[in-house]
Amino acid sequence: MTAPATPAPAARPAPAQRRDVAPLLLVPLLALAALPLIGDLSTWITLTAAGLAMGMIIFIIASGLTLVFGLMDVLNFGHGAFISVGAYAAAVLAPSLSGLTQTDSLVLNIVALLALIALAMAVTGALGYAFERIIIMPVYGQHLKQILVTVGGLIVAEQLIIAVFGPVQIALPLPAAFRGSIVFGDVAIERYRVIAVAVGLVVFAAMLLVLGRTKIGLLIRAGVENGEMVEALGYHIRRLFVGVFIAGSALAGLGGVMWGFYREALTPAMGMDVMVLVFIVVVIGGLGSVGGCFIGALLVAVTANYTGFLAPKLALGSNILLMALILLWRSRGLYPVAKR
């Protein structure tokens, strides 16, 4: 290959690229709009903080699913199984960490939480690997079969949990230092909700870092857009699929631990119960978009909280209404990923 005869011309300034900030304004605008309706500032802050905490947990769960959806074009209704399994794995280990969880030391409590998260992610990651190899791999590209086999997988997982732990709910008590509230004047914010927001932000930042600053992240984003071209560039996208599926399953396990502590009780159907919300978040955000998933999760949770307070009878349908409104505005979600 010969070098150019003439030196490359000096770069002229490129035209500025417009950033799409409108979706970023949705949560603040919704919160501001709700303030006069709620009336009381302390109630508004409490509802908003609870909504943000719940939204972060939903984001953690949904972020893995959106990548699996976007990159692998797999409709994985079995994602709920990893939520339940992650939570139950934490419940199994938690009693042996009582020395760390029953002390008032915040540091020791956080160490215990991290240990429980690590176990849950390891178990659900391994389960995700087996799930992808045995259940998903034979049905790539066949959406109807994917729905059937992954719903089947979810039901089998739920029944296995019932067989091992019984049908009744079991307790997952919060570590001692996570209980109670932080009080600012008339406003009380539960400590665990602050922890949930912090964990959600760490996961979001880590995902942005991996997707935006590493070659693996670039490959995942490119694969979401055009997997065939990624292969034509010389990368084995199936291996990438497996890695993303394991990571998505592990994130669901992490979300299961956080969700279990949020409710302080586990049921075999907890994963299945939350899947409707998770799918709404993934659709609102735009399939394959982590940023869209983050905003979608916050929107869904905050909307559910405000509606539950202002018009409890509408609470059940509020998220469907929210999804309909978002899709009327942007038919492919808040941040649609370009597809070939």
Partner: protein, 245 residues
Amino acid sequence: MSSDTAPLLTLTGVNTHIGPYHILQGVDFAVPRGSLTMLLGRNGAGKTTTLRTIMGLWHASAGAVRFDGADITAWATPDIAQAGIAYVPENMGIFADLTVRDNLLLAARSGPIDETRLRWIFGLFPALERFWSLAAGVLSGGQKQMLSIARAIIEPRRLFLIDEPTKGLAPAIIANMIEAFRELKKNPDTTILVVEQNFLFAKSLGDAVAVMDNGRVVHAGAMAALAEDRGLQQRLLGLSLDQHQ
């Protein structure tokens, strides 16, 4: 590795089915080393299917694709790419949500982008330097085609498969493309197979030519010979010479 005089790529009796359709019906042709070979033919003749079959994006149901002596017919697409074949699809296949820089970074499989080579590419396609940090989706059609070709040449490859590089481009951009291909051809180790509908473009660059019709190669030879034989052009390609020359 086969001898230096043997063709770099040969297709022997290649058949490809897409669903119920029998698209390639026994394709035979060879791409000489160091040449720029044009693959011509009417719409639906099977040119794009031929490139996709070489890349393993669709697998041949019969016949053999040999690259530098190795039978790559059943290889997976990434393995074919790693063997040294770069592919520029008809739709350009750029990653619209990634920046120009990230598109090239992904194509540089063996590590960081070589700075000298990048300067050389900027010399061929100055727009890419200007739009370096922008999402590739905002580029014009011509700039996307430049990026698509730049991605193929960002690292040395042994064979370039390029599908309709001038499709939908303005004459000024096509002239830019012709210059870029001339620059590429200066390297005697570069072998290029281009699918093209634009006969003037093909005539100005091609060393060898193969013409397809109904899933078969119906003519193969020197480009210069086809360029001079108006009757053959009319018969093979249905060209109206007054419109094209």
